[in-house]
Symmetry: C2
Subunit: 337 residues, 2 copies
Amino acid sequence: MEDCDLFDKDPEKLAELVVQLQESSKENPQSVPLQRADLRDAALECGFVELDEDYDILLRDVCIRAAKSQISQTDTDDSRIIQAVEALDDIDKNVNELSERLFEWYGRYFPELEMTGEELARFVSAYGSRTNVPEDHEMSEKASSSMGAELLFADEELLRTFANNICSLYDTRRYIENYINTSMGSVAPNLCEIAGASLGARLMSMAGSLEKLAAFPSSTVQVIGASRALFKHLRSRAPSPKHGIIFNNPVIKNAPWWQRGKLARALAAKISLAARTDFYSGELDPSIKEALDKKLEHIRQANPNPPERKPEAKPQGKGGKRRNRGRKKNKKSGGSN
Amino acid sequence: MEDCDLFDKDPEKLAELVVQLQESSKENPQSVPLQRADLRDAALECGFVELDEDYDILLRDVCIRAAKSQISQTDTDDSRIIQAVEALDDIDKNVNELSERLFEWYGRYFPELEMTGEELARFVSAYGSRTNVPEDHEMSEKASSSMGAELLFADEELLRTFANNICSLYDTRRYIENYINTSMGSVAPNLCEIAGASLGARLMSMAGSLEKLAAFPSSTVQVIGASRALFKHLRSRAPSPKHGIIFNNPVIKNAPWWQRGKLARALAAKISLAARTDFYSGELDPSIKEALDKKLEHIRQANPNPPERKPEAKPQGKGGKRRNRGRKKNKKSGGSN
């Protein structure tokens, strides 16, 4: 104890040491030789602190700093992507509402203009009043014979500012989308390859994190986002949902209806596998994609024609609302998966 | 008929003439000498058109143009203000949602920052990462000891863009508000003086137009915006609403509760009067404001203390949901107005 070098008495540096010590003790539980009481005695003995109270004050300060620094390291890559996905959804929703307002507002001045959404916002932001539409523009004829009201200068400025806002929201939307696509490639390369960047990010966002998504069974992955239909199915005779948000994957979206359940099951299985590979190894494994493609091709070839619908297999529409008290257990669901 | 000058055969100019003719015939119903059949004969006789069909084609074209030009003149000052009020509401709603998202998103990186809404957006837009906060900023101490996660460059750029969007929406909001204030002063000076620009515009928006607002009885003006409470009152024992959106006027908002019903009735009466004056004369009449002030002062002096609540005059809360089948007609409402 006599020949040791004393640490610097800066709480910031001491906190860093504490964090390092904690991490190394996680790896080698045997490597922590001193207990708390020993440390206190040692510190007093070496003259690192003079009084017991000084030690307490320093200990408190160091512990708070160490805890803060550990909290600040909890930010993970997947949580950043999840925030971006949620921001994207918010922008989507809000920019749609503002575009509708612009449509109604500008419609008073140029009702013949058949544009909505971003196209309309860009048009208003570029030209303002319909009298500014240049002659070589495709709308110039409609603009000159429009039955819309005259747009005063003050209103024109207002509409343009409003349209500019909408345009920049659309720009931000695209920016966030790019960010998600780029980040997904490095954070979850397999998930990105199997499900696509946007769907993969959305699955992570609905699961809560990549870790949680990796822990889900593939049957859960298959119906994430279809919770209403799932609980309706569990409660009553309604058919089980065949796909949740994974429906947005073109594999399922573009398939004929009788293949969708089977394709969704195969896709969900591989998404689940991909999420686990991403979470535990983090390296791209091309074999997952190959196996998926083989499986999908197999399903498509095995089910070329629509099956004949049995009368009891029909989707029951409003019937699902009836409480089904005498329901048999393990009843086969009406869905085709 | 022989010595008259022929009109130019341009449908645009003819349409203008038709509109002028219609307007003058509204003022002097006797001044239209020719019937349609006469005109057709005259046009053929003078050689203005050669065939009956030419006349039909020209007539159709002129009528469509005249109708369009009349439609384009239906845009009134009050309808422009109403559009602006509705856009303001949309922006309010959407900018709040986006601000909440920014609060959650940026909170991961600087949880100690106690800012929301516009303040937060301006802060993020100005500094981005908390490491950029200058030392003389009031938040600099919190920023240096924050337990927030580290903000990567890509995320910082994203957050700043997002915050910039929110800032410019707040700017537009302010711009629209100024527009409404300026326009209300010229379109409805009395309404603006009695109710305030924002409340006046909102009343017009909820009524549909200044004309409709002028046609409302003052009891309707008093409860515009409280339709749920009004119908609950009509349906059951619930007390009648004492004020709708006119509650936003500081006269009522800042008054003690027992004066509010009476003040609202007086204010509604003068708002109604102001709307009529604006719609039919359009000139500012200071006597309305004077009479209102006198009336309000009288109410305040006559009711200095809260009345003792009678047991049956209590607001009935959940009781209002019960259907009241045996309700007496002309029952005195529970409200104090």
